[in-house]
């Protein structure tokens, strides 16, 4: 589903180059559940942005669903995001003036889907996250957990192949967080490829596979079940140690 070859991304920060990603190569199979971990500034959000076609690598190649997307125009990348990728953000990113149903409908509105189709899909997507009774509520009338469930419904309503979640439980209490994680698991079981960025070991433990980034490089790869604490996981790379 996803294949990265030697991906690098460098920012200019105050005139200094910052290597957010350095020579990252990775392969994620269709339907796989992968967690990306790492300390702050390790480049995990940059990696997620590259995976989501929001950001372009400076070097390397990225195949998504069999297609090299590094050479695509902005317009084509936009279409890739629309058709293949769903995003879930830590801060939900719901539009406050729109109701839950309208927020879920948004990607379909801009994709030009017929009104009747949209209606049906909104109802199905909100039912899938158990929010059928909250369709006409605005975000400020919903709890944090409910908001993230609306965002989850929005991210999947266009039927993406890949779901990218950036700290999806970061702003939630434990109960709401667990609900979201269970929903993500269920969607993954239904076939969607799931990539979750987190620094919470309990979130990473649910993944098939965990990639640990330190200073923009892949420091470790392990199975989700192997995740214990973060102290040893985030230790800097020893020179010459093969990742």
């Amino acid at each position: 589903m996803i294949r990265l070859e030697g991906i690098s991304r460098t920012y200019q920060l105050g005139g200094q180059p910052v290597h957010a990603l350095e020579n990252v190569s990775e392969h994620i199979r269709p339907g796989e559940h992968v967690a990306i971990m790492g300390p702050s500034g390790s480049g995990k959000s940059t990696l997620l942005n590259v995976l989501g076609c929001l950001d372009r690598p400076d070097a390397g190649q990225y195949w998504l669903d069999g297609r090299e997307v590094g050479t695509l125009s902005d317009e084509e990348l936009t279409a890739v995001r629309r058709d293949l990728i769903g995003f879930v953000f830590q801060s939900f990113h719901l539009i406050p003036r729109l109701t839950a149903a309208e927020n879920v409908e948004l990607p379909m509105v801009f994709a030009g889907l017929p009104r009747a189709d949209r209606r049906r899909k909104v109802e199905a997507a909100l039912a899938a996250v158990d929010l059928s009774g909250r369709m006409d509520h605005r975000p400020d009338q919903l709890s944090g957990g409910e908001r993230q469930r609306v965002a989850l419904a929005r991210s999947t309503v266009m039927g993406p192949r890949v779901l990218l979640a950036d700290e999806p439980t970061g702003n939630l209490d434990t109960t709401s967080g667990r609900q979201i994680l269970e929903l993500l698991d269920r969607m993954n079981e239904e076939g969607i490829t799931l990539v979750v960025v987190t620094h919470d070991p309990s979130v990473a433990r649910r993944a098939d596979r965990v990639i640990v980034l330190v200073d923009g490089r892949v420091a470790r790869r392990l199975a989700g079940s192997e995740v214990m604490g973060t102290a040893d996981l985030f230790a800097p790379l020893e020179a010459g140690t093969p990742p």
């Binding site: 929001l54 950001d55 317009e75 995001r81 539009i95 990607p107």
Partner: protein, 403 residues
């Protein structure tokens, strides 16, 4: 899969965004509305003035030639050029004999003199003319008779009074048959004009009409002020005009008179007042561009407030062009709604104008209404362009982070 967003959806999204900020939306609407209302009201005023003047001319008959001493451009305002030769009663008589198209001639002089009866005295405009003036200027009599038909050179001591003059000098009395003093002259009142009101800036109700010979002596003039010629029905006005000019040029040895057709006078006034209307409209249109800057300001604030929303839209697969369309639609809706509001307000203002000044046929010209609406929409799109482009060019990653 279709990738085109429908116009209805675009409008729906934009409307939701605008109604989310009611006060801000209302204020920028108001700016545009005031601009459009100003254009409509001011041009209505100018157009009203133009129509008023044109109507005044229409009052005095259409088949009229006016001979003015002095040479000016035919479309200019008469009486500005220096008169080389006098325009005399003999000239008038020569036209009567030599130009068959001239049906009726009313040579006239005009001046101000005091008219007195008993203890009452009043400054009025005194017109010296002939019997023909009655028909040429479409006057009517309330009582008595108009000036008698007589030799131009003679001039019996008789006067026809305007209705207001008569009423004030002879309150409760019958003026006809009585004697008034005009300057040092004793004149018998032989008739009263029917009320006519203001015509070409002169209130005929406040005039006294005497014979032309009397008038010239009274004001010690050798030259006439004007000769008004009523041209025979069906005759060629331009041909008659050319004949008059040629005849007077022969008599004077040079072309030193100006002959105006009523059309040219009307055209001149209409042109001047039309230009005035245009100028008023243009000044008011400046306020439209100020309103446009207001809209730009509102949209810039909106874009910077909604940076994260733009980032989200881009992440959801919304194209740059669609983001541009969203913000442009918002500013266009703002300005169009402001324009319509202004149209309604302008219409109301014109209604009030008509009520306050019933004589003024105030009505905005169609071009001004169309221009104001088109301009308001154009201003919205023009000033909305910069903010919309700024939104469309936002980097998705930075925008999502609110940067």
């Amino acid at each position: 899969m279709s990738t085109a967003m429908t116009t209805a959806d675009l409008f729906g999204f934009a409307l939701r965004a605008l109604s989310g900020h009611r006060l801000r939306t209302l204020l920028s609407l108001l700016g545009m509305a005031i601009g459009v209302a100003a254009v409509i009201t001011l041009t209505a005023l100018g157009e009203g003035a133009r129509r008023y003047v044109v109507d005044q001319f229409a009052n005095i008959g259409s088949n009229l030639l006016i001979v003015v001493p002095g040479k000016t451009e035919t479309t200019g305002i008469p009486g500005v050029g220096a008169a080389a030769n006098d325009l005399t009663l003999e000239d008038s008589r020569a036209i009567e004999r030599g130009v068959p198209e001239a049906e009726k001639l009313a040579p006239f002089v005009i001046g101000t003199e005091s008219v007195a009866h008993g203890g009452r005295r009043r400054q009025v405009a005194v017109v010296g003319s002939t019997r023909e003036l009655l028909e040429v200027r479409k006057l009517a009599l309330a009582r008595g008779e108009f000036l008698p038909a007589e030799e131009l050179r003679r001039g019996r001591p008789v006067v026809v009074l305007g209705v207001k003059v008569a009423r004030e000098l002879f309150p409760g009395e019958e003026p006809v048959g009585q004697v008034v003093r005009i300057g040092g002259w004793r004149m018998r009142v032989i008739g009263i004009l029917a009320p006519k009101g203001v015509q070409l800036g002169a209130d005929m109700d406040e005039t006294a009409v005497v014979s032309v010979a009397t008038g010239m002596r009274m004001f010690d003039r050798r030259s006439l002020f004007r000769i008004m010629i009523q041209v025979r029905e069906g005759a060629d006005l331009e041909a008659a005009k050319a004949k008059v000019v040629r005849l007077l040029a022969e008599r004077h040895g040079e072309e030193d008179v100006t002959v105006l057709t009523q059309d040219s006078v009307v055209a001149t006034f209409s042109q001047i007042l039309g230009a005035l209307t245009l100028a008023l409209g243009a000044i008011a249109a400046i306020s439209l561009s100020v309103a446009g800057i207001g809209i730009m300001n509102v949209m810039l604030v909106s874009v910077s407030e909604r940076t994260r929303e733009v980032g989200l839209l881009r992440a959801l697969g919304v194209r740059r062009g669609q983001v541009l369309a969203v913000f442009l639609t918002e500013s266009a809706l703002l300005s169009a709604a402001g324009g319509l509001l202004g149209l309604a307000a302008g219409w109301g203002a014109v209604r009030i104008l008509i009520r306050v000044f019933p004589a003024l046929p105030a009505s905005p010209p169609v071009w001004a209404v169309v221009a104001a609406l088109v301009l308001s929409l154009g201003v919205g799109l023009f000033f909305g362009w910069l903010p919309a482009r700024r939104a469309a060019r936002l980097d998705p990653v930075a925008a999502l982070a609110g940067r």
